[in-house]
Amino acid sequence: MPIARAAGRTAVRLGAVVLCGALLAACGSGSSGGTSDSAGGKVTLTVDLFGSFGYKEAGLYDEYQKLHPEITVKQSDTEDEADYWKSLQTRLAGGGGLADVQGVEVGRIASVTQQQSDKFEDLKQYGADKLKDKFAEAKWSAAVTQDGRVLGLGTDVGPEAMCYRTDLFKAAGLPTDRAELAEKWSTWDGYLALGKEYKKKAPAKSAWLDSVGSLYSIMIGQEKERYYDGSGKLIYENNPAVKEAWNASVAAADAGLSAKLDQWSPQWNQAFAAGSFATMPCPAWMLSYIKGQAGKGGSGKWDIAKLPGGAGNWGGSYLSVPRAAQHKKEAYALIEWLTAPEQQAKLFRDQGIFPSSTGAIEEVADAEDPYFSDAPTGQIFGDAAKEAPVQVLGVHDQNVAQQITNALSEVERKGISSDKAWSNAKKGVDNVIG
């Protein structure tokens, strides 16, 4: 905290930070951008991603470099998508330091197609048109602008299911069979009722689910219209679907079914191994996260069943090529290859990242996951992917969702009333919209 600094300089520094993003290209022109090796026509492609796309881990870059000896792929990676997005926006504003390939989360893709379409390459000029039929319709169309430009190729999708701990279920005297459970919790009411039953006989220090925020996120993933309508108008306030997910989450909090662990917090991470919760609604990409956090000791204790209340989708990503990239053609060739059905299928078998390519979804239909008691992941998530609604995406989806789950945390952790929390969420959203 207190370092001997003059007051004036303080404000200047703060100002400089703001200014940096606002204007100066100089700030953004780091050395992380595409570098071209002139020697022997060799090309180094830079790929900048967030979270875990699994390409490196599945050995896909190595494979690509073998196929194209003149290409070297260099990947950089930011753990948290929000941080990644911040830095990407700064560099887009400055116009420098951009990689040849940038990842974009589905919650941000509307911002790209509606606000920043001039900053990304139209992939049609490289022949992306012919790929249209290979992708699920919803996945493809979300990255297309109104005037038909294609700004990204789909990587994965996040079909939703319910993950649960068979050992804790057994201890509480609940059935553990997937089909039986899917029937018992065919609706969210059924899921909450089963939770109350679990609570009566639950092992010590164990709750029904991790947090009501995660319940809300998964329920909202089952809806077609969420925060925006088709015309881009903000409608979350009066959207019955949002209200319904909100109310169910508040009901779960009131019934004391939640372990009150905010998703992605350190406490949440620690709780996987400790067995603090018996169920967790899980998109496909969550499986590798569970494996990472619960570790080897969790193997065989988890299982996966169909999600209550129908199919849904949470998350998924795109690969895009910024205008300011140095090797656009080579970059396109790389992302076309990475998002091709064969590679997507391999990625799922290897890393559990669920394909958005229809061919790949069929290819992995028989996949099972031994960690999750040999659950037929290919089939469960494949069905969910086929049935999930085509979502209407909006510019501020991610931030609006964040404000709402924040307010839900207030309900479950501080016990404030649902009405007060909702008005806090609205204030937060007003701030986001600015």
Binding site: P2, I3, V12, V17, L19, G21, P266, K414, I416, N431
Partner: protein, 327 residues
């Protein structure tokens, strides 16, 4: 390191012999001109850098604060006049942040300076291993904010934290250090206190060592206890040092940012903004929501707040010393 070495080197050079007065009327005009203007030439690099990286950003921030600017479309400036300022003052979360900055500032600065004073007093005695202890005091200061905060966040964990475990041993039920307003602010303040107490203690120690020992001897002859010596000799002698640390801590408290940001990794300062400081509020607006114009306006509000605080500080200090002089 070479602290003693440089001290010796400094001492060797110490008596600065003033250059002999050669500067008679024989010096040429060019030479005279050089003599007049060369100081400015020497100063120029600093002022150029200051203008580029200090003054210009300051003024440009003021300019940006009058427009609506979004990070996604930075070239598109829409005139808002004082609209950004109006929307800040109309935002409940701004006032929350201002209040939090103040309460966290008090919660961290007051115990920190009091403890630093006590520690400095103890260190001023002849102790075995004095140098070691003094160096150890500075260790938290040398730790990075990020590392310290992450460790404290673990300690303050609700379910598996060490502090709640220890509280549990004495029969106190676990505290949710993240959610409660007071609890979370105490937790954040404790990081600040931990990092800065040693630093301030050393500054006080330096101040104490410049107090002439005759004063203590005289006090001892008069039969003053150690506590009385502290109150009547040490404290008055330390006044300028205390004013300095208070000013610096106030500025630091107003800018507090890293600790609350990393405590939970939340740019909102907790689910109810319960420990969001002004710095974090600005960051949320600028880099969470990408409203650069509004963030620039917040930066200027913070600037004014700091100037006011420092002004009040200086005024109080001058009043006191005038009173002293008047006695």
């Amino acid at each position: 390191m070479t602290l003693t070495g440089t001290a010796e080197a400094g001492a060797a050079k110490a008596p600065p012999v003033p250059p002999p007065g050669r500067a008679g009327g024989r010096a040429s005009a060019a030479r005279r001109a050089w003599r007049t203007f060369s100081p400015y030439a020497y100063l120029a690099p600093f002022f150029t850098l200051f203008a580029a990286f200090g003054l210009f950003p300051l003024l440009y921030t003021a300019y940006v604060s009058l427009y609506r600017v979004e990070l996604q479309t930075p070239g598109d400036l829409q005139w808002r006049g004082f609209g950004n300022y109006a929307s800040i003052f109309g935002d409940e979360f701004f006032w929350t942040a201002l209040r939090n900055t103040f309460t966290i500032g008090v919660l961290s600065t007051v115990p920190q300076l009091a403890m630093a004073l006590g520690l400095a007093h103890l260190l001023n005695y002849k102790l075995r291993g004095r140098t070691f202890i003094r160096t150890a005091m500075l260790l938290p200061y040398a730790t990075s904010v990020a590392a310290a905060t992450l460790v404290f966040a673990q300690l303050f964990g609700r379910d598996f934290g060490l502090i709640n475990y220890v509280l549990g041993l004495v029969g106190i039920s676990p505290v949710d250090w993240q959610t409660g307003t007071v609890a979370s602010q105490i937790a954040v303040s404790s990081i600040v206190i931990w990092r800065w107490t040693g630093y301030n203690a050393l500054i006080y120690l330096a101040g104490m060592q410049s107090i002439p020992s005759e004063l203590y001897e005289a006090a001892e002859v008069d039969g003053a206890s150690r506590w009385r010596q502290f109150v009547h000799v040490t404290l008055p002698g330390l006044r300028p040092t205390i004013v300095f640390t208070v000013v610096v801590s106030t500025i630091g408290a107003t800018q507090l940012f890293g600790e609350p940001l990393l405590f939970e990794g939340s740019i909102s300062g907790g689910i109810s903004h319960q420990y969001q400081t002004l710095g974090l509020y600005m960051y949320e607006q600028g880099w969470g929501f990408f409203h650069l114009g509004r963030a620039a306006a917040i930066a200027w509000v913070m600037f004014v707040v700091i100037v006011l605080l420092v002004g009040v500080n200086a005024l109080l200090a001058r009043r006191r010393s005038r009173k002293e002089a008047g006695r």
